[in-house]
């Protein structure tokens, strides 16, 4: 199939739970809309010819690189050419790849460009700016692409996979978490037209899908965050296979782990960990999500011997694992029995819905689970195990494409 995807490159604001509002550059999927972070999810099938057109409204040139894809072409109006580094008349590199100029640049390139590639292989991939990337990626010009395997069929369990039948990557539900960092001073410098000094980079906010905790745990398309449409709460029922796709959108590496649980890494940067019949997937507690990289994992929660006739999901949780801090809220149900609620400490508000069991996923660089130094916040979310039969049968990621 041919997939035609149109993106606009523009600016906007995102909301931080401490009340701050951060100026961003980002992608959006319609003319006139504000930018979002991360960019719109792109979901295509293996073998598709993917045309991604961008229209630039920023005050400087921009471009998109597609790490992990091969044979990318770029077309600025005179036909597709192999995409590659661009130099000025003096031989100085100006962009890692063909770019869309800023609107109205006298004698410049058009402000639109179309990139084309064939999605040769399934997996999780990043797209991001290749022009002044030290600035534009930090400002928010990054997003993720999911390529479904050619035999993907969500109606057939053996073919609802990340990498194809018999790759040991079947899943019931999938989640995508793109992590990054924000230095508000640099963002303000761009907003105010001041010098952008990357050497002074000092992030104060850490994000999952463009949100800092506790906003990470809010639903997709929460109304008060119009430019951060993707939630980062991972929800599943006992014994389901959960595909968690991590992507590093920022410029730092982040060690993520779920409390008390381990995931099985099945692919790196969209490359399946399997050679011939040899399954090279491996379990890991703390996954170091490297900048610009992706990690696909399959995870099944079965508790500590949990089954319907032995419904105690875990030992009594430690309060510090529950998000109970000065913030005065928790996701805990108050009961160790899945599907039941009990008492929570006096003065603490529980956001638990139906007695589901939450455990934290966070960056173990602990200063990153703050919002400008205030715990809890930052790069933290929860995995929520819902009682069997309460979650519904959704569970695949939709996107442009």
């Amino acid at each position: 199939m041919i997939r035609n995807i149109n993106l606009w490159v523009t600016d906007g604001y995102i909301s931080i739970p401490d009340g701050n509002s951060i100026y961003i550059w980002g992608y959006t999927d319609a003319a006139g809309k504000r930018a979002q972070v991360p960019g719109p999810r792109i979901v295509v099938n293996q073998g598709d010819v993917v045309n991604i057109s961008i229209t630039n409204t920023l005050p400087e040139a921009t471009s998109v690189v597609f790490p992990g894809q091969s044979g990318v072409t770029a077309d600025t109006g005179s036909g597709p050419q192999p995409a590659g580094p661009k130099y000025d008349g003096g031989g100085n590199l100006v962009s890692l790849t063909d770019f869309a100029d800023y609107p109205g640049n006298p004698g410049g390139n058009p402000p639109t460009i179309t990139y084309t590639f064939t999605a040769h292989r399934p997996g999780t991939f990043i797209y991001e700016s290749g022009t002044n990337p030290h600035k534009q990626v930090q400002m928010g010009l990054y997003g993720a692409i999911i390529v479904r395997p050619s035999d993907y069929d969500p109606a057939v369990p053996a073919k609802k996979t990340a990498y194809g039948e018999n790759t040991h990557t079947e899943f019931d539900r999938e989640y995508l978490v793109v992590v990054s960092e924000i230095d508000p001073v640099l963002h303000q410098a761009v907003e105010q037209g001041k010098d952008y000094k990357i050497r002074d980079f000092l992030p104060r906010y850490w994000t999952m899908n463009g949100r800092s905790a506790p906003d990470t745990m809010n639903s997709d398309n929460a109304g008060y965050m119009p430019n951060q449409p993707y939630g980062a709460m991972i929800m599943a029922e006992p014994d389901e296979k959960v595909l968690i796709r991590y992507a590093g959108g920022g410029i730092e590496n982040h060690p993520l782990h779920p409390h008390g649980n381990h995931t099985r890494i099945v692919a790196l940067d969209g490359s399946l960990l399997k050679n011939g019949t040899e399954d090279l997937s491996y379990k890991k507690f703390t996954v170091l999500v490297g900048a610009g990289q992706t990690y696909d994992q399959v995870f099944t929660w079965s508790g500590l011997g949990y089954n319907p006739s032995n419904p105690i999901p875990t030992v009594m949780p430690n309060l510090r694992n529950l998000g109970v801090g000065d913030a005065g809220w928790t996701m805990w149900s108050g009961s160790p029995y899945l599907g039941e609620k009990g008492d929570v400490p006096v003065g603490v508000t529980s956001f638990n819905q139906v007695g589901e069991y939450h455990f934290m996923v966070h960056s173990h660089e602990e200063m990153q689970i703050t919002n400008w130094g205030e715990f809890p916040g930052g790069m933290m979310t929860m995995i929520a195990i819902f009682p069997t039969g309460t979650l519904g049968d959704a569970g695949t990621i939709e996107g442009l494409g």
């Binding site: 790849t97 930090q138 990357i198 050679n275 900048a291």
Partner: protein
């Protein structure tokens, strides 16, 4: 068999984009030659007896050690019994012989073990390449990184040594004054920052270019080793290499293939990765640090840890 190398530890100056001469300390390959960044590549056959004779032209003790190799450093202590060096020192004006027998092939750092927080940052590091048994530099049919059965046959080999430079720290250390806080603004491959990385090999103190010039279809072995203090994320555009070894342990051996493809490779301080790919269609393919604050010279993009794979 025995192979002897002689190194001289010296002062020198390097040139980085947008800076004046930056003082550094490096290893030279001859008494009259300049200090180099990185030091001279040393190439030895596996199981050779290797002797490295270090002559110290600097005004303070230095040493050399060989992490990852079959080599036992001898920590040095001062007269009061306090630890001063990971390995036996070479006194100022003196010479010392370091001996090892590399038991396995691969790519290894050699670097100072004396005040390494200063001396390695200042440039006292280099690379030793250990060739597998049967390797004949004159016979391309024998060119492998790790010997037969390791899937590491190649046509073109390129060594990329990564690092960082804080020019203020270099100025202060060269002047002997207390060091500034480490805040590097320059990021290097083979001692150079982009665009200088793309220049050819040369004489002088930064002899190794990093442009990878290959023909479509050639098997390219990239050997990346991190001599710096920071972890880097080496990103390829348009190419996804296969990781064939980490820290010189081949991932394919005894019939078990644990090699894997990866587009962006996190390389920790002191680590190495051997990457293999088949050169794609003609064109320029960028290789850069996805730590995008290291793909700059000071505050300016492009620069730093970046080079070009040129396929013709």
């Amino acid at each position: 068999m025995a192979t002897n190398f002689s190194l001289w530890a010296k002062t020198g100056n390097i040139s980085l984009p947008g800076t004046g001469p930056v003082p550094f300390w490096g290893f030279a390959g001859s008494a009259a030659g300049p200090a180099q960044l990185p030091g001279p590549h040393m190439e030895v056959p596996q199981n050779d007896n290797v002797q490295v004779i270090l002559t110290n032209d600097l005004g303070f003790p230095v040493s050399v050690m060989f992490p990852g190799q079959e080599f036992t450093p001898q920590p040095a202590r001062d007269s009061g019994g306090l630890f001063v060096s990971y390995n036996s020192e070479t006194a100022p004006g003196g010479a010392f012989s370091y001996n090892l027998t590399p038991g396995r092939p691969g790519i290894f750092l050699y670097e100072s073990g004396t005040s390494p927080e200063k001396q390695v940052q200042m440039g006292l590091y280099g690379v030793m390449v250990v060739r597998p048994a049967g390797f004949d530099p004159g016979n391309p049919a024998t060119w492998t990184a790790y010997g037969p059965g390791t899937g590491t046959e190649y046509d073109v080999e390129k060594i990329l040594v990564t690092g960082e430079i804080d020019t203020n720290l270099h100025q202060e250390l060269a002047a002997g004054s207390p060091a500034a806080e480490f805040n590097p603004g320059h990021f290097i491959i083979n001692g150079r920052s982009y665009p200088d990385t793309t220049d050819p090999d040369s004489g002088g103190g930064q002899p190794y270019g990093s442009r990878v010039s290959v023909t479509s279809g050639q098997r390219v072995l990239l050997r990346i080793i991190n001599a710096g203090f920071i972890n880097h994320n080496i990103r390829f555009l348009g190419i996804t290499p296969r990781v064939m070894a980490g820290d010189s342990w081949p991932l394919l051996s005894a019939g078990l293939d644990k090699s894997y493809e990866k587009n962006t490779i996190t390389i920790g301080s002191g680590q190495s990765y051997d990457l293999l790919f088949t050169a794609p269609a003609a064109g320029q393919y960028m290789l850069y640090d996805r730590n995008l604050n290291c793909s700059v010279n000071d505050n300016t993009f492009p620069g730093g840890m970046m080079t070009v794979i040129e396929v013709v």
